[in-house]
Amino acid sequence: MSWPRLRVRKLDIRNGLVDLSHGAGGRASAQLIDEIFRESFDNPFLNQGNDQAVFEAPSGRMVMSTDGYVIWPLFFPGGDIGSLAVHGTINDLAMAGATPLHLAAGYIIEEGFPLADLERIAISMGHAAREAGVAIVTGDTKVVERGKADGVFITTTGVGVVPAGLDLSGDRARPGDRVIVSGSIGDHGVAVMSKRGSLGFETEILSDSAALHGLVAEMVGAAGPSIRLMRDPTRGGLAATLNEIAQQSRCGFLVEEARIPVRPEVMAACELLGLDPLYVANEGKLVAVVAPDAADLLLGAMRAHPLGRAASIIGEVTHDEQRFVQMTTAFGGGRIVDWLAGEQLPRIC
């Protein structure tokens, strides 16, 4: 006698919710992975259905990085937690001058999370990864009880390969080196804040979330050995990045406010909220420190790339035992650009 083949109903993506069975490792888990993630990411490594991805190791030095994404709201103008999780980790690899190869993605999903939102996030991740030429080759999904997480948290880990002869590191800035920023700062932070409940304000500003390895490849091609280091100024903004480098390299900075690109809309939103764009997060910008004689060459290469059109030399590295980041204000005075203490607080009057 033959048993009828078990008919599994497809996920009700439009109305369905994630429940605990989707993380329990049973048939429901397999179905979730199959219908949402494999469909969206679609690549031969994932399609093999193993718990790991096996790939050829390139020769030379490899780079590896991991990052957790807990952004709220999950969807914001110019991106969402999915595209951000792809771009962010690619950028961490790219800041070593590397070509990113593969990504792994881990999800912690709160019980009750809409399947439609999960699919939207997965499609966005797949799209971002394909656009960047990087495959999401392995992953993991866990579901936690309601209240134990906030919607969905994503962790992505990436591996890449560093071109021979390139040695970018935060401790390599030397007095006299030039500092270049790849474009306008503060776009991401302001775009996200504009969608936070109590702040809701009307703006056309989009997050700058983007994968920077294409721009980096152009930069390495143009000025490779003269580039001392690169950093993407994410949390804490340009201010935190410059202070981190000052600590690592035991140096100071002198930057000119008038040379730092800030969009008028971002400036206006910051004025309204009492924020300083120097401290607002970016997700598609980089800061490069470069030997002085190669600065113009590097700037030219950056401006020739779509993600570096507004690149600007904003200042230089100084000898400073106290490691101050100093700025000449557009107004004509001087000030420090210090670390951020706690969260940036809106002023009350």
């Binding site: 109590s198 702040l199 008038a258 008028p264 400036m267 206006a268 004025e271 009492g274 106290q322 101050f324 100093q326 000449t328 204000t329 557009a330 107004f331 004509g332 005075g333 001087g334 000030r335 420090i336 210090d338 203490a341 706690g342 969260e343 607080l345 809106p346 002023r347 009350i348 009057c349």
Partner: protein, 384 residues
Amino acid sequence: MKYIDEYRDGGLARSIAATIAREALPGRHYKFMEFCGGHTHAISRYGIEDLLPPNVEMVHGPGCPVCVLPVGRIDDAIRLALRPEVTLCTYADLMRVPASGGANLLKAKAAGADIRMIYSSMDAVLIAEAEPTRQVVFFAIGFETTTPSTALSIGLARRKRLSNFSVFCNHVLTPPAIRAILDTAALPEVERVLVDGFVGPAHVSTVIGTTPYRALAVEFEKPVVVAGFEPLDVVQAILMLVRQVNEGRNEVENQYIRAVTAEGNPIAQREITEIFEPRDTFEWRGLGSLPLSALRLRDAYAGYDAERRFTIVPEPAADNPACECGDVLRGLKKPAECKLFGTVCSPEAPMGSCMVSPEGACAAHWTYGRFRDRAKTISDRAAA
């Protein structure tokens, strides 16, 4: 950005600064106090000190609402927030202000108190409406600038017939604070603040106008120039003060004519008077108890007064004895002259309130200006 860039024009600033340098008499020292934290912040953030000649000195005043709030009131707010039925709504500036025993609102929140950071007093009313089982208390602070919005939120709560909304009122008044700085006849000489004039409040003056400063200018023979918070406003006000001093005038002048009139905003004043009345006395950090210097809710609005609803009994609370916020707030000391500055007190771990708010004199100097202390040390050493 339109309406902003015009007031941050570096070229114009340099030309006004050159006029100040030309007109400031070489044998004379000019010491002006900017009353408001907003001015302190602008002076530090835009590096205005670098534009002034050495004989024109700015000292910081007490106009930072977070800074002048005494420890005891923060203690009261924390005790309120720890009551299980209470949701305390506060502006974010207050979260890290140190209270007694190393406590602050941020730590109380981590320990389970229901504390929400809001951007407008109206948000607190909306929370009270949405969560009728919670006792929502708005932690109201600020000078005359923020008082009208607190008044409006009480009016809104009354119209919505909300019985679960109240205000922990800490609104203070500007003119009594200026008087406290100037009225030093009874103090020993070392505690007298000797200033030649005031950069007068910006936003406060949009509400109360310039008239209330007149009596002070006449009585204490000090010029006052009401100025906006943009850097060019401040630089221009300093020039106007230098000219008044040189000409022996003690007038109230208005640099901020684009927003401030002599009589202020009558609608806002009416809202304030409708709901609030002066307290007999109020404790200020740094200035001590000042008569008729703060507001409380009138009896007709007692139902919205958190102090009465929760019978808050003030308990004595002392500042950290080494903290010199008091002297800094009165302009007696510069932030770097406090022994704690930058040693155990920094914005990450503030000991005193002046290190918390971005408008606090210590936080502004630490965040933007402390590189100048090094320049001074080097030039002092060279001179020696």
